[in-house]
Symmetry: D2
Subunit: 451 residues, 4 copies
Amino acid sequence: MDVDVLIAGAGGAGYPAAFRLSKAGFSVIMADPKGELGGNCLYQGCVPSKTVRELTQMIKRAKLLNTNIDVNFQLIQNHKDKVQETRFKQHKSELSETHVEFIKGEVEIVDNHNAIIKGDKDLNVRAKYIILATGSEPFRPKFPGENLCITSDDLYKYKSPIRELPKEMVIIGGGYIAFEAATMFNILGTKVHVLVRSDKILRGIDSKLSSTLLSLMDKNIDIRFNSPVLEVKKNSKSLDVIFSHNGNKELLTADQVLLATGRSPVYPKGIEKTEVKTDRKGIIVDNSIITSVNNIFAPGDINGISMFFHSAVRQSLVAAHNIMSGGTPIDYMDFNSVPKTIFTFPPIAYIGITPDIAKKNGIEIVEASYPFAKDSRAQMYEETEGEIRLFFEKTSLRLIGGWIIGIDAPSLINEIGIAMANGLTARQIADYADQHPMTNEGVSYAARSIF
Amino acid sequence: MDVDVLIAGAGGAGYPAAFRLSKAGFSVIMADPKGELGGNCLYQGCVPSKTVRELTQMIKRAKLLNTNIDVNFQLIQNHKDKVQETRFKQHKSELSETHVEFIKGEVEIVDNHNAIIKGDKDLNVRAKYIILATGSEPFRPKFPGENLCITSDDLYKYKSPIRELPKEMVIIGGGYIAFEAATMFNILGTKVHVLVRSDKILRGIDSKLSSTLLSLMDKNIDIRFNSPVLEVKKNSKSLDVIFSHNGNKELLTADQVLLATGRSPVYPKGIEKTEVKTDRKGIIVDNSIITSVNNIFAPGDINGISMFFHSAVRQSLVAAHNIMSGGTPIDYMDFNSVPKTIFTFPPIAYIGITPDIAKKNGIEIVEASYPFAKDSRAQMYEETEGEIRLFFEKTSLRLIGGWIIGIDAPSLINEIGIAMANGLTARQIADYADQHPMTNEGVSYAARSIF
Amino acid sequence: MDVDVLIAGAGGAGYPAAFRLSKAGFSVIMADPKGELGGNCLYQGCVPSKTVRELTQMIKRAKLLNTNIDVNFQLIQNHKDKVQETRFKQHKSELSETHVEFIKGEVEIVDNHNAIIKGDKDLNVRAKYIILATGSEPFRPKFPGENLCITSDDLYKYKSPIRELPKEMVIIGGGYIAFEAATMFNILGTKVHVLVRSDKILRGIDSKLSSTLLSLMDKNIDIRFNSPVLEVKKNSKSLDVIFSHNGNKELLTADQVLLATGRSPVYPKGIEKTEVKTDRKGIIVDNSIITSVNNIFAPGDINGISMFFHSAVRQSLVAAHNIMSGGTPIDYMDFNSVPKTIFTFPPIAYIGITPDIAKKNGIEIVEASYPFAKDSRAQMYEETEGEIRLFFEKTSLRLIGGWIIGIDAPSLINEIGIAMANGLTARQIADYADQHPMTNEGVSYAARSIF
Amino acid sequence: MDVDVLIAGAGGAGYPAAFRLSKAGFSVIMADPKGELGGNCLYQGCVPSKTVRELTQMIKRAKLLNTNIDVNFQLIQNHKDKVQETRFKQHKSELSETHVEFIKGEVEIVDNHNAIIKGDKDLNVRAKYIILATGSEPFRPKFPGENLCITSDDLYKYKSPIRELPKEMVIIGGGYIAFEAATMFNILGTKVHVLVRSDKILRGIDSKLSSTLLSLMDKNIDIRFNSPVLEVKKNSKSLDVIFSHNGNKELLTADQVLLATGRSPVYPKGIEKTEVKTDRKGIIVDNSIITSVNNIFAPGDINGISMFFHSAVRQSLVAAHNIMSGGTPIDYMDFNSVPKTIFTFPPIAYIGITPDIAKKNGIEIVEASYPFAKDSRAQMYEETEGEIRLFFEKTSLRLIGGWIIGIDAPSLINEIGIAMANGLTARQIADYADQHPMTNEGVSYAARSIF
């Protein structure tokens, strides 16, 4: 079968390109073993986990009304499944309005232009362009008993068998997945332990940001630093987690052990038969999303640059546009302007250049901040910890980065983000009158503090 | 007493200028009869009403968790008072860090440069510049029994005596205050009737926006159009509201009658002794906030152009900057870029040029929208009604307006607002990757639909 | 022959799309009866006329050095031919680096997808997309002796037979071509008469702009308003031009009569066999450059919207991009942001919204200006007449238009233009420090006058 | 005498602040020993030198018309004087419209708030704020016979005694003043030698830019690298310049020796009585133009950061605004966005981040260029050497720098500059349609090459 474009993977890196190219008159075939659009994000990632998170937040906030909502994890998981079903249905309907041919099956690459879709039956496809959008999966480090652990995929996947709230949970990992789960299950009532291999959390993000987050997380969460896991063992009713600490072997017992040690790219089978190059992070692409083979594109988690659904969607469109332009790029991904949120309690969000990066690169910055302690809405929710912080390049006063720690961070980051992506200056932000009494006010208030 | 600047009113139109000018070395005296900073907004306006609203929203959303939270209005009002206290204290502390002299008292104008502050004792002040920031108050139409009605001020004021949830409430008015209260008390359990004088709600906003809002409000709210009030009468336990409808007299009975018929400017006494000009809306100013007298400024509600706290704050700063420049303007208020939210259930928010205005002015627009029915977060909350809608000028594709109907409107309007205020185009918005899974995604998704 | 794209016309509206689409992998065939790239602009339009103009300016300015340069029109025309040759050669070289097939010949349309190229031999072409880029030609009104007149094409065409400077010239027309020629030949030493049919010049441009230009043109030019031509007759050595004035017949005698009465679209033969619609101005397109037939595009003069080479080039690219996107637009022409220059002595240039348009559309503007009388560089050249004038939308202070009258107008308009096209505000322009001592300083100086 | 503001120096760093502050109601006294506004720039700097340059360019270009214009240096200098007179008069008239008190005299600082103006008689002044705007002067290295050399001040000053064109000129220096003079006098007919101390010219600018300029300068100019001057001696009719080269003493003879070895700040007398700090370059200020003493400001050449008239003017306004705000900054100088032109033949201009800086700071850039060889207008003038080159930050494609080598550089830099200062991206520039046939076209053409 001859097509213009073959897309391996129907997640956020795959289907937006499929829809866009189909609309532009390209023949498109897209395959995914899940048989559903939406990818990991929808099937077992951001959508279900944030659904649980929103309900958790409601439970937490109900205390303001002197109300103790009984945590019914079964109900929470049901609600999550329902949201997922709604979205599966929605994607089906969107798909049906296009000419994209979608096949449940795995793509096996034959060469730069050929592949086999392994579905109900094998289908040979010859394509002018190939988009590799096979995403990522939880990384599973090797230790005895690793198979006894669950990952976030198990927790959040559609129809997850985990319908009972763990009483005690050990989380292995020091990244965002670990702490999103830790802070959430802690609120739901689980006793949470986190085993962090090194002496700091959230490597890769600004040190002041991560240390502030650490200081704001509920002290009820038991975080153990410098604690690499040695073994997980099943005992009668629960699991024993043995880990090393200061040269000693220590032990924790839990009914669930969550492995949250990052994610790895999922390469399609046969990728080695192309000249596509990879590195430690994934398939090498530049900001045109073109791989080392000029008819093959690799948007999304598979390139490991910016592993977020919203980043994947935009990358997917960049790939589509560059296919429309015959492979001589006409669109480029601005990786630096992708907002990033860590959905902990409290949440944090950040974008662009933060002080650690600025210092490293010799960029002089002017900082401007707004503490939520002063914010009306934060006061209404009694969530006054944290801040909005903006980073301006010193000479131009152009916004080059920012973060939010605390209430509404995942939403607020976008006002900052769109301003930063488009080169706005402190004055332009200061002159805008954000809606009162919303936390957004802090954005302009911070900028005004410079003048 | 000689000062550089006299400020009448310590609300959002007053204290930002006071702080700014004091920081610039001007001697500033500010007076307000409330004896507190924050004005109507804090004392009886947006802050307390939105506090109640946030708790109401929590109660509504708790149903997702199969939880029926008992409405305890006393507790809600207590929480509101607490937020107000926090902010009074905060403003006191902010004030103490400045050199502004603050007096509890009313300002009576003597001439363009002189005034008496009527406080504990009279204080004669001669000022180079005067800022009139005396704000607005609920308008009370005249009809028999009008004095039996409460206004939003009574409901939300600090230590409001209204601590019991009305069982039945008649709201007189068709504007935003009427429907914010109507939709909120309806959720809290009050049986709400709204008497609208004319045949439409929310005059002054885009007709499609108001009609969509009308269609989305809970049908349990009893809205009566073309129903001017004739009289309110006290009976044994409650109030009778007599109104005209289709030539007939009709009657409703309620335990509270809320008068929500707009707000009027509060002029300082003696204003007629200056050459400051007023019109139907308030004191006439242009976008430099200077009145017809070149040393007198009138930011905020008193000019009636844009009666919102956040608008007042920015206007106050514009006035301050223009005093710093000796009255030859150096800063200007962009009234068109002020976001406006109506905190109904569902809420709506809008900014800039909407289709009605565009049509009237012969501006060709391109519309782009995103229905919340498709939105992950809206689905999580099962609040999928409504949309994000952007308006682009046809030739430049520059964003010139937008609205949001539904979930997160009061926050989302700011991402749209800062983009619009700074002249961003559809492409610039489309190329930004909004954080997933937040409703903000709809902003870039809408813009992408154009390309 | 089957191709992806057929392009009729190899001028500014044609070849940029050809090159862009070819680069994107589309097969492209382009035909033009001239057999050269560059179209009317290069063959007989802007390039040769501006070449003559630059030399004329040099002659005029030499007076500053007490030097009278003898006007050698033969030499001037030789230089012009040389510039044209250089560019023909350059375009050939550029073409040779693409896969575009270029044919000398005329395109005759057969239907929405088929055409015949009438070259050395007929070539039938079937194309997925057709770009009609056949441009425009001087409009020749009908009157006796019209054939005795020359047009600007005759004057400036490559190897033009006109190598001798006319001693006396009658120019028929009141538009920009008429006055560009009038002011230029006047400097070169020709006695110039202009016959304007109506009572004003340069219809379609702002009235204050045209009246200022009129007042600044050399009084030695004999402009006759309300003077429609009746007949042109040959006498022994020269031409008699008979025209009507105030009910009388009047007569002028000249050795050249230049017909400068506007330009009309040149439709390709057979266009009536498609469903492409036209109006008074040309082929109807919107800002996606798509005609009423969705696989046919019409950039440049043929649509009559914005008859300038630089506009045509950008429109050509818009068409190319929208072909790359399969006809669902991905790029749009911002017709309002095209700078327009009238290369008179003194020149004028303008862009966007000028006061006449603002008034008509109810847009409130703030004007800011800078007189060249104050400008260092204008003083150096003793060309101090005229001004830079900026128009800001009153509320946002966003730049929405501007003009320059006088020195360096054709260049300066671009600093204003790029600022306007991108929504910059008065403050952003004011804060930029334009290079001293260049006329550009006036741009920021004008904006600064607002603050 | 008590004033709000004392300004030492009436050049580009002084009078704009004087005018601005006076308009804002501040009492201002300004003193300058020249007794004229305009400073070094007008008296002996950019204005007169560029006047001579424009006439020189005319002489050069006249060759296109087969015309050899006789160089009459007396006439050129007369024209220059006339331009200066016009501007002196203009400034007087501008001054008379303000309330600024202007005194011919020198300012001697007494302490942070007090100074004596040494004019016709001594005047003691006590000022709230002091602006030090005393500029710079040519640096004169010490060697025997240094006093026999002239500087650019001598050449260009009002009523300069140098009215005869030097037959042979030795220029000492390797900076922009040296090469502006060298290339200009070379065209006028002087035999020019340049003695450069080191092995490269124009230190401090991008190495590729300076080497390209070097390669494009007329080979007739005799440039000697590694040639420090040892002595200048008078012989009967001319001057002998003895310099070292490769360990040898060499000699050149000339009728004029121009010392062009940079400029040094001119500190006001008594500056050591304040706490104002200086470094190697001049008075230390940050981008608020405030010195280490918070009521003293130092805009312009005296701070040595950006020694250009247009930079000084903007710095002067920044100082004024920050005085208006009581010394807590409200305005900041964007030193990085100041365009810089070297008025050589050919000229070069540059702004922002160039490759050398990018490399040093680890900024990844995308370059886009346009050679003047392809430019219509460059072809008309047969000045086709050089290019427009834009530098975009790789991820955002935001314009962060640019240069122009060749025709129209001093004007073109402003279109690039205003785009860069305001954060425009490659796409925004590409989508603008620059006026044809102007060299500005190269700006958008360069940007388009990326898409």
